[in-house]
Subunit: 444 residues, 2 copies
């Protein structure tokens, strides 16, 4: 037996006393007996660091645990695990680096940090042979990281479709329920605490892109630059589109989509599609009924087929549950394993295969196109002609009613076409026949 | 560094070359490079044992790996991990015991074995300080075991609702789609390979009860006797009930249901509700849209709230994916950890808290009741009177049309009531007013 088997307690240093930090402290305190039972020895908080340690957060932590000195907390010999919950790039990265370089395992919920610096941090954890837990970075309490890292370890993930931003999903769900405008729903979501004062990161798709980058790295074993993920938010979606989608049997969701195709390029490289945008999915799709602030991730594995995990993607306690799950796993590893575990080997840089990120222009899918055209004879025929010239064939057309000023809304669903052809055709149509067309991609 | 870090390969001995066994062999062979990358060293098949090694299974395994001598395969010094895939109680238990007593970690997909002998096997694995992987025993490729064991390690599971039998779900889904009889759908499912020649274990709810027993042990940290799980199958469900359910906004699913209430008995014990039966759930419930052979498990955690995992609950490759996930996790543990890992501490017998299994008679829920009554004045009033006498209040009534022989179908949805009151009331009504009533429990 090694010395570590004689360890009497595991100390956890928490950086950040915000929503998730308070949740983690609450669970570690309230479920101390349960956690002790699952780890075998007590898991105790050695300190909680925050710039502001005077505001009452409504949790009962021993005041002596609060500190503003992060470095001292990391260096404390009783701190075995460092939990980073301040979010953002800096100083979060500095703290995580400090912990890793002192060979202390880290648990983080910081998706921006991992999306931008993940590769460096995974390599650092590997070099020091210590754990880096990040289950809480995607999908709150939903066990997607563990599922991909362990459950599907023997499978090859082929595709990822994720509703990974609760704010955007709440907004689209509310808009689908009734004839309410985007602005009104955002204001309501802000009042309900489901949207931040500045909701742009959520509604512009940036937060979803961060999470998709993490999932791609884990699922496909390759890092992806955030710039290479096509990102479009939900701000231009209107009730008209939600209603038209419904008539065609579709629901509109903000999806993070990633697909992997082995050895398809001319030089035999594999290719990855990576994009975040509003997406029309069939009503029967399991993702279509994921409403409100819930998140869900649909994975397609070569062997396992279709799989989905579903849960609360944000919120203090759901996210904290994921953080505590990581803490417990690492605490067990510390007990039996001298603090280390072989980190997921898919992160080992030497195993990286060269991949190509497919440019958005080359992506193929079906499209929902909504035009506002002059109600004159021959318009539909001209419009269809332009689409045909660009190799776009029409699957369905919906024309009904008339807008103010004699313009007519015209909805076209296309068969699968190439993005660059669609964009070129839309430019021509916009210049000649229609006001600015609305485009929503379809996955079926 | 210990000797184990110098280990050059991990040997896997597979017992059982049926559907899942062939799937496991296929994945280990086809994904050898991927698995080698994830474990760090090769994972190789040391042998595959089956009584019948002459039938062509359509997979390309080196003939020299096939054997009928299970004991020799277990004892082979190159076999590091034993994979039991023959199912049933014996000789499966004998083989698992033999492997554990030789301190070889075991991976099994055998739900009957774990439902009946789980407690003994978990204790044996603990005593020998080795791994026992059983992700594949519930929900095929769906990562529910890992989620409960690790993801929710810091949470207290409060309730489990599972669609955990694909055959029963396929039958109910097909019956919901059109006016087809139970018998016709079973015959169709058998032709499609979704139901066995003798489908009784699936359609009588026995298989679901096995899986629920495993989930209860893991989620609530206590073993439960199979006899204590109230088990009712789907054989009496008719198209009339599916249609009536739809009119009320419900879907009928065969659910395994378990609920945990802390310290509620007179002597302060916790109490567990455990039952398998056809259940009416609201159409908006995430489980309602789980159709065909898919499985899903909805968990409610104290902190994580609602969570669901969804996937193919059976089939060669989905189930094999879960087996291979366990093999990879254990192979990693062997590499870094001298073959052992502290097994989940919730299985440690010394931590068991005494719990009471709530008798079915005391369970409370809402009920769907379908009567066939004589079309005479006053029947509804008499029927409602009998229900009221037994403390059962009516939420909705649906009466429409008339059956042959002047009888009238009458559907009643009750408010929450106690099972024993319902049963007593139904006996009185059956004797006096109605043909044998149909009862379906409602969870909302």
């Amino acid at each position: 037996m090694s010395d570590h088997l004689k360890k009497e307690r595991i100390g956890v240093g928490i950086i950040g006393l915000g929503t998730v930090g308070c949740g983690v402290a609450t669970i570690l305190l309230d479920h101390a007996a349960l956690i002790r039972r699952r780890v075998g020895i007590p898991v105790e908080i050695t300190g909680i660091a925050d710039l502001d340690i005077t505001t009452d957060r409504g949790i009962s932590v021993d005041k002596s645990l609060l500190t503003t000195d992060v470095q001292a907390l990391i260096n404390d010999p009783h701190t075995d695990i460092v939990v980073e919950l301040i979010g953002g790039l800096q100083p979060a990265k500095q703290f995580v680096d400090a912990a890793l370089s002192r060979e202390k395992p880290v648990v983080t919920a910081n998706k921006a940090l991992l999306a931008v610096h993940g590769e460096e941090l995974y390599a650092s954890a590997l070099r020091h042979n210590i754990d880096l837990g990040f289950e809480a970075s995607v999908g709150g309490g939903m066990p997607v990281i563990r599922t991909m890292r362990e459950g599907l370890a023997g499978d090859q993930v082929k595709a990822i479709y994720g509703i990974i931003n609760g704010t955007a999903n709440y907004i689209l769900s509310k808009m689908s329920e009734g004839n309410v405008s985007f602005q009104d729903v955002v204001a309501e979501a802000q009042r309900a605490g489901y949207a931040e004062a500045d909701p742009s990161t959520d509604i512009e798709g940036v937060d979803s892109a961060h999470k998709l980058a993490i999932l791609i790295n884990l699922g496909f074993g390759t890092p992806v630059d955030l710039q290479d993920i096509y990102t479009e938010g939900v701000t231009s979606i209107t009730s008209i589109d939600l209603e038209a989608a419904r008539e065609f049997g579709y629901t509109i969701k903000l999806l993070g989509i990633a697909k992997w195709s082995a050895g398809v390029t001319a030089s035999g490289e594999s290719e990855i599609e990576a994009r975040v945008h509003p997406t029309m999915i069939r009503d029967e799709s399991p993702l279509a009924s994921v409403n409100g602030v819930f998140n869900a991730i649909h994975l397609v594995g070569e062997f396992v087929g279709d799989m989905m995990v579903y849960g609360q993607g944000a919120g203090s306690l759901p996210t904290a549950t994921a953080v505590v799950g990581d803490i417990i796993e690492i605490a067990r590893n510390i007990r039996v394993n001298a603090g280390g575990r072989v980190p997921p080997c898919s992160f080992r840089p030497e195993f990286r295969e060269p991949v190509r990120i497919k440019p958005m222009a080359e992506v193929r899918c079906a499209y929902y196109l909504r035009f506002s055209v002059q109600d004159t004879p021959g318009v539909l025929s001209q419009l269809a002609g332009i689409l045909a010239e660009h190799d776009i064939s029409i699957a369905s057309v919906l024309q009904r009613g008339r807008e103010q000023g004699g313009r007519v809304p015209l909805v076209v669903i296309t068969h699968e076409a190439m993005e660059k052809n669609i964009q070129t055709a839309l430019k021509t149509i916009h210049g000649n026949l229609s006001d600015l067309p609305m485009l929503i991609r379809i996955e079926s």
